[in-house]
């Protein structure tokens, strides 16, 4: 294995994020802080406790999950897309990397950015008094699997996109609506009865509610089903990414 090469590719990608630190790191922290302040504290004061947890504690997992998956997605997506766009992906293609090493480096850098964002939001959560991690292993599991899944999805979009507008399609029309509709601010009981069954079809529901179970100890979804669902999605995404890299789809002419 090309260990030095793979580590260098990860370092390069993290350096690239640092060049745009305000956009890549500060903005999600600021937006998470505002979510916590407005929805968690101000609106939450009128809502009261949910399942024994304060509304701030209830909201934090959703805010954390949304920012984690967005960061992981954007990191790997922009890394690959911009390298394709600027053609400096050729530096990587002609170097002695296997496809798996390329994927590993892009995915790992995506996960790292996701974890940096998540760590900052946890710190913001502490400021708002939301401190609990009831099930640490589940907490780690959901963070790792979701960061992995969205780094892989970022690579798929980074390969597929042929213009800047296409880069924003997935976040705008999939990630944001499905996260907001995935129980970020509400329990299933708060929804109209006719809509509740649809939650089970929303993968973001399992991510948010699974992390909520890990942090406050209660949740409405079956977290084992959610975990299995996320593992299958991540495995399928990896196989698809690997297949596309091996074919050189939109990488090699």
């Amino acid at each position: 294995m090309n260990v030095i090469g793979t580590a260098t590719l990860v370092r390069r990608e993290l350096d690239r994020s640092q060049r745009v630190a305000v956009q890549a790191i500060i903005t999600p922290w600021l937006s998470a802080g505002l979510f916590m302040l407005v929805f968690g504290k101000i609106v939450g004061a009128r809502i009261g406790d949910i399942g024994g947890a304060s509304y701030v504690e209830f909201v934090l997992p959703g805010v954390l999950m949304m920012n984690l998956l967005s960061a992981a997605f954007m990191q790997s997506c922009s890394a690959l897309y911009f390298q394709r766009f600027l053609k400096n992906i050729e530096e990587v293609l002609i170097a002695p990397f296997s496809y798996d090493e390329m994927i590993l480096a892009f995915v790992f850098s995506g996960m790292m950015r996701g974890f940096i964002i998540a760590a900052g939001i946890l710190g913001i959560g502490l400021l708002f008094g939301a401190t609990g991690v009831a099930h640490p292993l589940w907490f780690v599991f959901f963070l790792v699997v979701v960061a992995l899944l969205f780094s892989l999805l970022g690579l798929l979009v980074g390969l597929w996109a042929n213009g800047f507008e296409q880069l924003s399609l997935f976040p705008t029309f999939l990630i944001t609506p499905l996260t907001f509709l995935g129980g970020m601010f509400n329990t299933p009981e708060m929804l109209p009865p006719a809509v509740r069954p649809l939650l089970a079809l929303n993968p973001f529901w399992y991510m948010i509610d699974g992390l909520r179970y890990a942090m406050i100890g209660t949740g409405d979804s079956n977290h084992l089903v959610g975990a299995a669902f996320l593992i299958i999605l991540a495995a399928a995404s990896f196989l698809l990414v690997r297949q596309l890299f091996a074919r050189g789809w939109r990488l090699r002419t």
């Binding site: 600027l86 002609i94 170097a95």
Partner: protein, 240 residues
């Protein structure tokens, strides 16, 4: 002796279009080879097949005996490429770029640092080492592209029009650097539209026309009987 580069019946098709049609040639270690042809003849496609940017339709390519598809790690470690277009991140500095690319090839940090210092000095880029690539002049960019091709100390150096768009002074400097590299035993494959450059540097020449090798032989064969290289080249590329 194992050839530095052996291209065997290379074919590259894009759909119905055949860009490279059964190209074969061999470079001996230490050779300075000129690869000529009109625009669109298949030079860059052949090079891209050698380095792995382009997938081969059929045929085989070996670099110092290593197949570029099945034994790609060993093959790619031996190749340094300075491409026709600048495919460099415009926001990255020269020093960082060389550090990254050295790392890609598995060069350890202390060794990388030493090599980068040497390259920056050799190419007179030390004063500009921390400047983003986009802020450099055309000639400086060419030097960075060449330094990048050398940072992992490859034995086969492929230069796709390395002097395109650079001034006369820098072109002469580049010639000097290339001669020096060749004198150190590096094998060089050079494409250029400047025939005086090819005449000054190369010992053997291949001419590709419409995806096929139209001439392959020593430079002297093209410049005998009072003919200039340009006259011979135009005669070969004009043949139907």
């Amino acid at each position: 002796m194992t050839p530095a580069l052996h291209v065997d019946n290379l074919v590259k098709r894009y759909g119905e279009k055949t860009a490279v049609d059964g190209v074969s040639f061999t470079l001996a270690p230490g050779e300075f080879f000129g690869f000529l042809g009109p625009n669109g003849a298949g030079k860059t496609t052949t090079i891209n097949c050698v380095v792995g940017v382009t997938k081969i339709t059929s045929g085989a390519i070996r670099v110092f005996g290593h197949d570029v598809v099945t034994d790609y790690r060993a093959a790619r470690t031996q190749i340094g490429l300075s491409p026709q277009d600048f495919n460099i991140d415009p926001f990255v500095s020269t020093a960082k770029l060389l550090d990254y690319v050295g790392g890609y090839y598995g060069v350890r940090a202390p060794e990388r640092k030493e090599r980068i210092t040497r390259l920056l000095l050799d190419f007179e880029m030390m004063p500009y080492k921390d400047q983003p690539f986009r802020t450099l002049s055309g000639g400086q960019k060419r030097r960075v592209s060449l330094a990048r091709a050398l940072v992992h100390q490859p034995d086969l150096i492929i230069l796709d029009e390395p002097t395109a768009g650079v001034d006369v002074e820098l072109r002469r400097d580049l010639w000097g650097w290339l001669k020096e590299l060749n004198a150190k035993g590096k094998t060089i494959l050079l494409t250029s539209h400047y025939l005086e450059e090819v005449q000054a540097l190369c010992s053997r020449i291949g001419i590709i026309r419409q995806g096929k090798i139209a001439f392959l032989g020593p430079k002297d064969e093209l410049v005998r009987d009072g003919k200039t290289l340009e006259e011979s080249y135009l005669e070969i590329t004009a043949r139907s």
